[in-house]
Structure formats: structure tokens, C-alpha cells
Symmetry: C2
Subunit: 385 residues, 2 copies
């Protein structure tokens, strides 16, 4: 009863455009960056950035000095991570740094690949990214909660979590484990900054922090020098460095956000937080009109950056259907809403992850269509369940 | 007798700066790019290139349309590769595309990793790049000339060859082989363009073609659509795309070089060829003054781009010592000349690869020091042998 048929009277629901929410493309922040005008414009001359090398002698030999400084300054301003006495490794997005970290934390010649785990629901790309080259160094071993194999392991801790926005710590907690903390979303627009993160390997990305996904800039904050050296080696062997143009631009933008004298910093995080809060409020309003769907609840916490209590407003909504729909991704696809189904996150198919970061038009269309679905389902069986 | 000692009267040879020629950093082309002024300057606004996506619907979904067009136009102008009815895949340098090609040409579940071979002397990074993740999909199997294992294999054909500048074809030539052609140096400044290359997978790079190594832009010209799709998938899983800023800049520069109306094109390759020819002439003059070292000889051929006969002027010199020096890399290192030793290329240690692409000052210092070494050795044993 809950699924539209080709000759359904409600099939006008499907006449609109496809609503693509399966990826976390952060174009929702674009109006802000359009508004800053020339303040973060960069100009690159024909003869700039010709060498592979930036500053030979540092651990990460292809890292632009200005980017390193901007990264340290930004973390200091926001208070979300310790960078003193830590090494910075730049990558082609944090994805390349994830591969670099796996390489750095393992060694050839072991009896078996090191097991890589993450607590369900985990980031849907981890399994394929970990396994696609069939490495003998490491292999995906699934949910950290049910992990019971002996021997060394690597646990990925995504904090706050993608897809469900929860704040979590490691769950295996054995002595022979190594941790990679993916802190892509530990920024004030998404979640209260409750403490300076201080973990062995912390991954961040320009995509989710500022919204500049096309630049493919990520960075790792690394405690152990040898790990930083090995991560750098991975990037050397994988791509001989990272775009210097993108590093230069990221340095300019991160620098401007740190530099309160230009007022971009306070404004950007304020803009981002308002945008996310507004979207979450609107989305919850729509969802609460029926019992068809539900969303996670989050606790208010004190944010040290903004100096006020606030609720998380995650980059993704982890939407759940409460009725007899078995596979929410397939269900929504019939209404031309493309989300990412729960089973890809090691969870159940009654969940779908939808991006909250897209452009305003797409987001509003999404709200309208969800609302229409709720009306349709309510009308067809009386109470939406 | 051929090696300086700490208290050697010739140790003043070692008082100069270290001459770093072990990498092919193409900074020698910088004066040209400085001279073009604003013609290839790019300006990037705060809100440009924010999305992961460029043109959804093409095979390589993160490729900038303007870059694709510039690449096709440049190959058409130079006449060095067929691109009609071929797919273009962009990468973070051609190194990332090499990994992508290995992934695309293999499949999980085979009884053994596919053997990867290349004829000696081969590019020194191939073995480590192929093996460092201990993939079950492929493994380095060394010299193609001596390869005798059964089953599927991949042969890397570098043309013209790095390190020795020779033009070569595949050498195994069996039906169960797949080929990757690395054409990084198949440009008019290095070698006569004798035909439009037309191979299954051809790798090119912005670093060696134009001298912009810091941008980390490479591209593959691929015949088979499924191979292009799989290479794109590799880059998605490895780094979710390629810097859009760098792609934009590369499009501008490649476009300007194709566009003869601006005269940058004819000028760039003319500049590059003159520079390389002049360096090779000078270097051969120095080398020919004694019998201590020798260099490969190359044949003149007709270059279809320039319309005249010319000799190759490779990006690297494959220097050989003719006397009783066992390890030329170690020998030169004592005179603070850092080259890359022959054994890394699967060859003998009497060879060293030295870059011919560095800046003018370094190159001239190198000539002086080689000259001094020749004088020293000649004086110590009479005839340089």
C-alpha cells in the first residue's frame, strides 16, 4: 500500500525532477562564498607552482608552508583539535589520507591482513575503499561492535558520525588496536565543539569544513613522526604530491576564516550553523507531521567556539521509516528521491542517509516531496503506519 | 684511484653546493612561463569549483570540460596522439593514472596477481609503485626481456624511455598481455614526433609536457570505455576526483599552447626544444673531452610537428662511466652530484640517470663539476680510464 504504482493517482508526485541527495556535495555553503567577493580570490601566474617541491626538509615535502600555517591557525581559532607538536600531512581530499593512514599503520609480511573495523552505522565508502585493491596489508572486517578476531586491528572512529551524526568513541578498546579519527564534521556548523580533539591520527577536509569539495584538499594531524613520514610516502607513491594551486587557495580561504579582522571567520561558521539549524528545523517540522518517518534526536551541549549551548545539526539526516516499507532507498527512489540506503552503512534498509548540504532549491524541493509522500501514505492507509 | 679522499688535494671539488639531479623537476621551463606574462594567468573566485561534480553523465565525472577540450586540441595540434573516439580520464598526475590503469586491467579472484613487466632500463618508480600495497591484483615481475612466466601480464611501455630516451615498443608480445603506454616524454621538445600514437591506454602529464609539476595533472587517453570507467572508479575510490583548480589552470595553459594565434604554442615547443638541444650539446662537449663517461647516441628523425629532421634531446641523461668505477651513483655523490643509480632502473650501477630539466644555474654548475671530475681523474691516472 505504501508504494506508488505506474497508474497510481498519486504518480504526479513523480513528475518533478530527480532529487539527488545520495552524496554530500556541500554546495549549500556557496551563497556565503559568493557574498565574500574578492576577499578570498586567488590569482595564479603562468610560472607559479611549477616545481614538485615546496619546502624540502619538512616531513611532508609537498605541503605548502602557508597552508600548514593556516591549518594550525584555524584549529587554534576554532578549538577543535590540538596541533602543537603535531605533524600536518596534506592529501588529495581526506580519502587519500585514509589510504595513507592504512598504509602507515600496517607492514608487509604479516601472517594476515590487519582487520579494519568501524562501528555500525559506518561511512558507506569505508568497506570498498579498504578492499578494492585486495591488499595483503589490511582488509575490511566490518562492524566494530561485533568484532571478535584476535590480533592487531585498526578502528575508524568518525566523530561526529557519518551517517547518523552521533558523537562516539572507539568501541573495541584493545591494546593491539590503532585508531584513525575521521573528524571531517567536527566543525561548529555541524556540532558543538566540546573539547580540543587530541588523537593519534585526525583527518579533516576542506570539503566539509568550508564547503570546497572540488579542491580535493584534506589534511591529517599526526602525533607520531614515523606515521607522518609513512603517510607522506604513500602520497608520494600514489600521486607524487598534492595540487599546489588547491593548497594555495585553501590556505587563503582557511586563513581568511581564522582572521577575525576580516570578519569572514565568525561569519562563515555563523552562516553555516544558521543554515544547518534552519534546514534541520524545517525538516523536523515536515517529518513530525506524520508518523511515517523519524529522525535521530540529539542532545544540546555547550559549544566552546560559539560560547552557547547548541544542538548538533549534522551534514546528513539518517532518516528512518516507521511503517512496513522494507527498503527505504528503493521506496524513495520511486518518488525520485535518491538517498543512500542503510545496508551500505552496515545498518538496516529501513534507513536512508540524505544530504543536508545541497543547494537551497534542491533542499526545498525535497521537503515538498517528503510532505507529499506523507500525505499520500496517510490518505492511503489512514494514519501513515 | 678514481675516488676523492677527505684529504685529497682535489677535495675543493666538494666545497660547492649539492647538485640535485635525481628527480625530474622540470623547472628549466620556468623562464618561458615567466615571459608569457598574464596570458595564462588564472583568477579563481571564492565560490568557484565548490562541487565535487563537473559534468555528470560523462565517463570521467570529475573531468573539467574545458580541460578535456584543451587536451584533445593539443594532441591534434602536436600530432602526437589519436584522441578521436577515445575517452579522456584525468588524474592527480600520471602516477595516479598508472595505479588506475593497473586496477582497470585486473580483476579480483584470479589464482595469482597479474605480472607487471617493463623492459630494462625501466622507470625506477614502477617496482615500488606496483608493489607497495601488496595487492593480490597485480605484482611487479621485473624486466620484460627476461619475462617467461605463463598467464596474463601487463607490460609498461615508456616511449621515449625514461631513463635512457630510447624509442621502444613492447617486447613480450603475447596474446594474453595488456599494454600501458607511458608517453610522458612524447612531446616535440624531447623527441621527434614521428607518428600519432594510437595505443589502448596512453598516459600523459602536465609536468613533463609543459613543465607544471606542482599542479599534479595527468591524463589518460583510453580506447575501451569499460577501462575508462574502471580507471575513473579507481580515482573515485582513491581521492574522489582531481583538483578542479589545477584542471582549470591546465586547461588555460594547454589551450594557450594549442592556440597558435597567441603564438605561445609554437614558442613553447621551440623554446623547450632549443633549451634541451643546447643543454645536450653542452653536456656532450664536456663528456667528449675525456673517455671517463659516455652518453647514449640517438638517430635523427623527421619530426612531423616541426617539419624538420631532429635528434632526441631526452629529459634525462643516462650517463655511463667507462673506467673501473663500480657504482657511479656513489662515486658522483662524493662530488655532491646526486643522480639516480642504474640498479634502481633494473640496470647496472655503472649507469646514473641525471635530470636535464632543472634550472639553468644548477645545470651549469653540474657541467663545471663534471668537467673538474674529468680533469681530476685524467690527472690521477693519465688518460681518464
Amino acid at each position: 500500500p505504501a508504494e506508488p504504482k505506474d497508474n497510481d493517482t498519486n504518480s504526479n508526485l513523480c513528475s518533478g525532477p530527480v532529487i539527488l541527495l545520495s552524496h554530500g556535495d556541500p554546495t549549500g555553503f556557496k551563497p556565503f562564498w559568493r557574498s565574500v567577493g574578492d576577499k578570498c580570490k586567488v590569482t595564479i601566474d603562468s610560472c607559479d607552482f611549477m616545481s614538485y617541491l615546496t619546502d624540502v626538509g619538512t616531513v611532508c615535502w609537498f605541503l605548502e608552508k602557508e597552508l600548514e600555517e593556516a591549518i594550525r591557525q584555524l584549529h587554534s581559532t576554532v578549538g577543535n583539535a590540538v596541533t602543537d607538536d603535531r605533524h600536518i600531512v596534506v592529501g588529495t581530499g581526506s580519502t587519500q589520507l585514509y589510504h595513507a593512514a592504512l598504509y602507515a599503520l600496517t607492514s608487509p609480511g604479516g601472517p594476515e591482513p590487519v582487520n579494519v573495523v568501524s562501528a555500525v552505522p559506518y561511512y558507506s565508502s569505508y568497506p570498498e575503499e579498504t578492499n578494492f585493491l585486495c591488499s595483503a596489508l589490511y582488509k575490511w572486517a566490518g562492524d566494530a561492535y561485533t568484532f571478535d578476531k584476535e590480533g592487531p586491528y585498526i578502528e575508524l572512529v568518525t566523530m561526529p558520525n557519518n551517517p547518523d551524526g552521533q558523537v562516539r568513541g572507539p568501541v573495541v578498546n584493545r591494546n593491539d588496536g590503532k585508531l584513525i579519527h575521521d573528524l571531517a564534521y567536527y566543525w561548529p556548523q555541524y556540532t558543538p565543539i566540546t573539547a580540543q580533539a587530541d588523537y593519534d591520527i585526525m583527518l579533516f577536509t576542506f570539503s566539509k569544513s568550508m564547503g570546497h569539495a572540488g579542491s580535493r584538499i584534506g589534511w591529517a594531524v599526526v602525533k607520531d613522526k614515523n606515521v607522518a613520514i609513512k603517510m607522506t610516502k604513500y602520497i608520494e607513491l600514489n600521486s607524487i604530491g598534492v595540487s599546489r594551486e588547491s593548497q594555495h587557495r585553501a590556505a587563503k580561504i582557511l586563513g581568511a576564516v581564522s582572521d577575525s579582522s576580516q570578519c569572514i571567520g565568525a561569519n562563515f561558521f555563523q552562516y553555516g550553523k544558521s543554515l544547518m539549524a534552519e534546514r534541520w528545523t524545517k525538516f523536523r517540522e515536515v517529518i513530525n507531521r506524520s508518523r511515517l518517518f523519524s529522525l535521530p534526536k540529539y542532545m544540546e551541549e555547550y559549544c566552546q567556539f560559539s560560547g552557547e549551548d547548541s544542538e548538533p545539526h549534522p551534514a546528513f539526516a539518517w532518516l528512518k521509516c516507521n511503517n512496513d516499507i522494507e527498503d527505504l532507498e528503493i521506496f524513495l527512489r520511486r518518488y525520485k528521491i535518491m538517498g543512500r540506503g542503510g545496508s551500505l552503512f552496515g545498518s538496516d534498509p529501513k534507513h536512508v542517509r540524505v544530504s543536508m548540504l545541497g543547494d537551497e532549491e534542491t533542499f526545498n524541493l525535497f521537503l515538498e516531496r517528503v510532505s507529499s509522500i506523507q500525505d499520500t501514505i496517510s490518505n492511503s492507509n489512514g494514519n501513515g503506519i
